[in-house]
Amino acid sequence: MSSGRGSALLQLTLWRFREFIREPEALFWVFAFPILLALALGIAFKNRGPATVRVAVEEGGRSTDVQEMLESAPEIEAVILPPQIADDQLRKGRVALVVRPGEPLEYVYDSTRTEGNAARLVVHNAIQEAAGRRDVWEVRDRRIREPGSRYIDFLIPGLIGMNIMGTGMWGVGYGIVKHRTDKLLKRLLASPARRSQYMLSHMLSRLVFLVFEVTAVLAFGHYAFGVPVRGTLAAVAVVSFLGAMTFAGMGLLVASRARTVEGVSGLMNLVMVPMWVFSGIFFAYSNFPEAIHPFILALPLTALNDALRGVILDGASLSSQVGLLAIVSGWGVVGFTVALKIFRWE
């Protein structure tokens, strides 16, 4: 409870900091939400050995024989259903494939779905084996459950990247627009407060929260799921720092002219939604066609996620990530420069 002067920068930063921690909802979205998401997805995609494949056999003909043959494979669960119901279940994804007993046997499945393709392989194999086919080359399965290559390992750095983007853009962008609509920017303009210090205070308060939000998600992944942290913490810190500055700069950019909170929300989504989809948060971007890879790789969140995965999972050194970090920082520099040029104080 001091009543002296203190530096303007410190007070401006404290202001941002207090506004944030006194908003319980903001705390939930920044800290609790990514952890809950990691928990839910971590459990949903836990390695459980080979998954059960659910298939349907159409009623009629030799359906009971086919069912028996399928059930001989431990990973297949087969039910006999009337044709219409079987089709319906397939459409809804309750079964991955429908077998029509007849001459020849017919597999009905959606080849664009992973489960459909997997079911076709498993079902075909089971039927041929039950019918007497013998393997000509002996094989042995070795299932990987090693930390570092599971889905949760892929997910945690992606969530950290997503969180850095979200809190950076919302924290800075929303905060500035709120100050603009409350005419606080105008009030500051009438005071001798330096504009640069106001901007800097947004950055600094971001940094304080960054430490907590990255640590929270990383520690959760590490202690709850055993996600390895192979690189140095310093390297993780540097990558996170650059990411946070870049997205703070982009937050500044989207907020630089918006007059209303609704306006800035729209712009935020315009910037963030493509990155949520393309930048490999929940699944690898290699799922997208080659043709758009250059575009995906140029996105700041893609580079940030790749760099985070590099240092966290592969233990990569910072120097090996220079290219990615340059992409991240480049967006930041462009964002800041343009934002400062077009910024509207009133």
Binding site: M1, G6, L10, L12, L14, R22, D182, L184, A190, P192
Partner: protein, 260 residues
Amino acid sequence: MIQGLLDPDQGTVTVLGLGWDGHEQELRQRMGTQLQETRLPDKLTVRETVTLFRSFYREGCTVDEVLDKVQLQEKSDAWVSKLSGGQRQRLAVACALVSTPDILFLDEPTTGLDPQSRRQLWGIINAFRSSGGTIMLTTHYMEEAEQLCDRVAIVDRGTVIALGSPRELIASLGAEDVVEYALEGERQIGHDELSALPGVQQVHSDDGRTVLTVSRVHQAVPALMRLLTERDVELSELVTHHATLEDVFLSLTGRHLRDE
């Protein structure tokens, strides 16, 4: 524009003997500002808000001193969102006063406040004035201007139409009192006849009421009464009051105050 928030289309602005070009930082250090539309941050306490604004200035008083001045000491740990309208305005003024400015800009500081809060703010403003500070106050309340100001400029549709001390402006009416009356029925008395009454300086009608600006109310009212008796008309209403700035404004603009 005087506060350097807008650039003038033409001409130059000089405040405290300094122009905005090249002296911006110094001027801002010496100015205190309260803007009408500012909403101070909801989630900060009163003390934190004042401390924030104090930190922008090289010189000034302590946060406690200024909280005492605006009588917010007991609310110092309350969030701004919990303050009443009057307390918020006092806080806004506190943020303007914390640098002990040479010139204080107040933009409609009492708009929307109850009479008690308004008196409280007037007290704060008067205290600053008597300590030697200059205040530039914008208001729609003529009563407020009359109470607080040494010099009043009346601005109508963007131009200054009168400038002077409240006393001078009222004296410019050439009369110190205003007599307003309304009559029963449809009949009216001609303006020429009213102007001819002793002491009557100006006559105008407003919404079925007749307003006379008079210099000698003790002569004008009996004369008006005699005239009305002669014409055999009854009064439905009669009011007299000392002339105020509001009368000056009305006689200059010919309209009631507008909300613009």
